[in-house]
Symmetry: C4
Subunit: 235 residues, 4 copies
């Protein structure tokens, strides 16, 4: 079932340790097949060193496991909420990558200090609000569903494909994209941008974001209908 | 004698350089066999590049070497004190891992800024007080015994399995766990958490810990009787 | 066409990921053949893992592609401006290397704090001014041409071979040299110097540059007509 | 001539890139044969990737090359001064390792914040004063001789084997030891200690050194006549 998607999601998961984004099993990637309404996600607490494509777990949009020898990642309900809210996304990533997580722990959005940021994220990368005691408490899965809802609340009125990620207060980053591979790509960018933003402020505590017209230029040079970066004309 | 335990302790020691926690020989891991009351520890000052399982030293709970071609790690008496005080632990690790050691050098406990911390350590990771001149002076082994006693004093009235590590003022971290492998796992987490806590304060000098209900949720999701993280239900 | 130069430029490009200066495809190197007035540059958005010497693109000094299966790097017009303005340079590099980019994002020149800096850069490494909305707007290529012009403006009245690099505000570093390999060498030095300058200020916020006579000594020991560093006497 | 020493010095030089202490050719190691009064040093500006034991240069205590196909390292006269002043040392290392160099650039001694420091350096690691214009000027070799003299001045009345290294203002670190290998070992420790000291001050800007009795205990546990660390009793 969904063998090709399982392979893609497996490979996207394996990118995380390769890119230095995870310690132990602290990360998970999923990818969705919109036609069947099923998504594929990493199993919970399984080591990257032994994980295989067939260990991926298939889940439906009610959160029910429809195939798999393992329990899905504990963060599965968060992925699910995002897939339900945003039909334009095809992949979701959660990590505890250290630079992005540090912004989450400090409860701060990451300012758009330069073009590296603007090439992928159109404006600051938001920090979702601290969750309430009620949201966090309750049965297994409740907290993880609420986590998803808080992310969606953060992007109300915004295009999630224009800012394909956020940091969740005192927790860590989530990113997304048109598929699992792009979501991982955005997770790598977020970590790099989070690192440079810390250093920018070390160099000058009063640093200011890049001017809006530079952010416009760089994001639209890669993503707008008149994009001219890379080999394939997107417009 | 204790061949299986020697192999486990050897492998746990070899994880330290692999995980970037030690420079040269600055670390040691031990594991105990509670039935025989014997523990196995790394030899002193032996290079990780040439070390073999049979080089591990077997010591009894009076601190006497009962088997081994080498002297045990100079920190052996500290391990011994912890094993005597806390019957629930099965492995102990000491390193000079750079981020954790920096907290030790600054004489500060590591605040619980996020869920990465809370997944393994239930509350702040304490910094043991500066040792007195009397504790530090004296015959070989006296200082190392006192080091153990100061750690135990720090955890008086607390469950050492709920906060499986600390940093010793102006020295470095100790961690523990149900066996040598888990103690090393906790040493890796401590270093990662120590790193992110420094950066969290760089991002906002007035950062606050995660709310208690988030710390509860994350620690108990993995460790309580209703744990639901990973593949094996612990409850 | 220009097979030897393509090979050199390809190898210079491959140094970037090897030296840790680029993530994904965030960098590009070119080299010029002054006799024919043609330069060779990396294609746009092509992965370092699959790139081959024959993928390099040949461009003339009007910016026209004269050979190549791919579009040239989007930053090609910036390289072009530098080649036209400075006949003494033979190679150009652009990266988003994280330490140098952080200085760019903070809009600060990198002070000459020590001899590592002075061995390659004779005085501070300038930060080019923020570009105007007019410079940034317009047709594909306009912004990139203006980027080059702003760099040239920054070096007006200065010898670009004495300070072979700069950081562009809210963007990242450009470096150059007598050929593509030397330009990459200078990119590595710039990143190292940028890193140490941040740390120097962490150690003492009021750090001062090295005295001018030390900067003179070190730069001229390696680059002046009485150079005596290395195996070949340059004088 | 001195084949065994050449091999040792070559291997000690090769440790520098392996341990992450040098970029390009920014480092040099020498070792002396006290009997013949000859020392062996890395050639100037030769790449670590192609360097061989037979490329090492043999120099006498007047600074004259007595064997070698290459010019010796430009810093050779500094090594020479140290060998002449301190008969107890057998090896010297100079690098631009980034953390130690940052302390040099900030003109600050590295405080003895913990036992990692104290295990190798008995007290703070001094920063040599800024050299004068007269010391820096002049013929090739003059500056490098004066660099050595400033280091010796810094250690006047002190045992250089008790604090086997320093940082030279706006330049970088020098370390030494009983032979080339120990000098490199001390260079690695200095870099690690320099890194942790920066972070200690980030965690608490008002951090204080470890108490003297802890510094005594740790240094003497490894180096005094009653040393009891490692496998060989030194007393």
């Amino acid at each position: 079932m969904l063998e090709e998607l399982k392979k893609q999601v497996f490979e996207a998961n394996m990118e995380l340790p390769k890119r230095g984004l995870v310690t132990f099993t602290w990360g998970n990637v999923s990818g969705i097949d919109r036609e069947s309404g099923l998504f594929v996600i990493k199993p919970s607490g399984v080591s990257y060193e032994t994980m295989k494509p067939e260990d991926m777990v298939v889940v439906d949009l009610d959160g029910k496991v429809v195939e798999g020898n393992y329990k899905p990642s504990v963060d599965m309900p968060t992925h699910l909420e995002l897939y339900k809210a945003w039909p334009e996304i095809g992949g979701v990533v959660h990590t505890h990558s250290p630079w992005a997580t540090s912004w989450a722990q400090a409860e701060r959005a990451i300012p758009a200090y330069g073009t590296t940021h603007a090439d992928y994220f159109y404006g600051e990368i938001p920090c979702c609000r601290v969750m309430t005691a009620e949201e966090v408490a309750g049965e297994p899965g409740h907290y993880e569903i609420e986590q998803g809802k808080v992310i969606i609340e953060t992007f109300r009125g915004k295009n999630p494909m224009y800012v394909p990620g956020c940091v969740c207060a005192h927790h860590g980053p989530f990113t997304w994209g048109k598929d699992a591979a792009e979501a991982v790509h955005n997770a790598v960018v977020l970590e790099e941008v989070a690192k440079m933003a810390v250093r920018t402020e070390l160099i000058d505590r009063n640093s200011v974001p890049a001017p809006q017209y530079m952010l416009d230029k760089h994001f639209l040079r890669k993503h707008g209908k008149n994009a001219y970066y890379g080999q394939i004309k997107k417009g």
